[in-house]
């Protein structure tokens, strides 16, 4: 059981900003889907550091990313 970031895709698609992708320390962890213009998280790679949440909520005040609890194998 551990915390990973999850993007609220409907909210995120409104902005087309990509800032969370640019500030994540893990390679290919948050990716950007151009078709839907939204970021998405690869939960296997996420270490739960919340830097993306800081960027999205504290800096940009957009609140599109939340931390969720996942089970191994989810």
């Amino acid at each position: 059981m551990y915390f990973v970031a999850k993007v609220k895709e409907d909210e995120c698609a409104k902005y087309n900003c990509k800032q969370c992708v640019l500030f994540c320390p893990e390679p290919n962890c948050i990716n950007f889907l151009e078709k839907k213009s939204t970021a998405w998280v690869w939960p296997d790679k996420c270490k739960g550091c919340e830097i993306c949440v800081y960027v999205c909520s504290d800096l940009l005040k957009r609140n599109c990313i939340e931390m969720v609890m996942v089970q191994a194998g989810d």
Binding site: K18, V21, L22, F23, C24, P25, E26, P27, N28, I30, N31, F32, E34, A39, K45, K47, G48, C49, E50, I51, V53, Y54, V55, D58, L59
Partner: protein, 286 residues
């Protein structure tokens, strides 16, 4: 090294791991990617065992995304945190003894120049503050005195991170660490000024708060090293474990330090400046 070395032999594609196929098809080899397109291509560096929220890992991620020619690059590292991520990338990596990175890089660069006289092969050293400014100080300095043509990048976390938190020459004065309970007694070494005095042709100090700027600085340092001489980048990459920074605050800390002692600073010799101005003019025309 070289594009042919990276490509998958015909018929073997279905036997290769998915990550490798992605790397060849959607990776950085053979094309110049923009660092602002991160998240839309397969990055050179893979999953690494560095701590959650480590901004040294972040700097290394941006470093690999901004290499001008990843297929013609060799990276050197030494003991310390940085090598944990450097060794997980699809770029040849050499692990030196503690402190001898710049000596190994000198020999390597000279050999590559003789072996490939018609090509640019980039050699880049990435080591921590301990590897370059404490234990490897002599070899770092002498590679600069000899004007060896490669790039040195210091990822400065201001502490010996994975041996329990001893103070390093780069720790700020007065800081209390696990293995420096009285607080550090001496000032932080001014690495940027040392590099300028020792003969580097391009010197920069940067805090990782702006990916576009990091990419520009790294590209410039590598390109200047191809033609003119040694180049040096001093990057602030906080240790959130030893300095007890909550992971969520790591970027805030980098922004905060940028306002204080890690203001962006870039210095180059006149001939390097001329070279970049000409290059930028050509890019605008194209």
């Amino acid at each position: 090294m070289g594009l042919e070395y990276v490509k998958i032999a015909p018929g073997f594609e279905r036997y290769m791991p998915r990550d490798y196929v992605d790397l060849v098809k959607m990776g950085q080899f053979g094309r110049q990617v923009d660092v602002m397109d991160l998240g839309q291509f397969k990055e050179l560096v893979e999953d690494h065992p560095m701590c959650a929220g480590c901004y040294m890992a972040y700097f290394i991620r941006i470093f690999y995304a901004s290499l001008p020619n990843p297929e013609d690059t060799i990276v050197l590292g030494t003991a310390g945190c940085a090598r944990l991520a450097l060794s997980q990338a699809a770029v040849p990596f050499i692990y030196g003894n503690y402190g001898d990175t710049n000596a190994v890089a000198s020999g390597l660069k000279r050999a590559l120049t003789i072996r490939f006289p018609d090509k640019h092969k980039d050699v880049v050293v990435i080591a921590g503050d301990g590897g370059l400014m404490d234990i490897g100080f002599g070899m770092t300095m002498h590679s600069w005195f000899r004007r060896e043509k490669f790039t040195t990048i210091m990822v400065d976390n201001e502490v010996y991170g994975n041996t329990g938190g001893q103070e390093s020459g780069m720790s700020p004065k007065g800081v209390q660490l696990k293995m420096a309970p009285k607080g550090k007694q001496f000032d932080k070494i001014n690495a940027v000024e040392l590099a300028q005095t020792a003969g580097c042709v391009y010197v920069a100090r940067i805090s990782p708060t702006n990916p576009k700027r990091i990419a520009k600085v790294i590209r410039r340092a590598i390109l200047a090293a191809r033609h003119f001489g040694p180049t040096f980048i001093h990057a602030y990459t906080s240790c959130n474990i030893e300095y007890s920074i909550p992971t969520r605050e790591v970027l805030a800390d980098a922004r905060n330090r940028e306002k204080k002692d890690f203001k962006f600073y870039e210095w180059m010799t006149d001939e390097v400046k001329e070279y970049f101005e000409e290059m930028e003019k050509k890019e605008v025309k194209a």
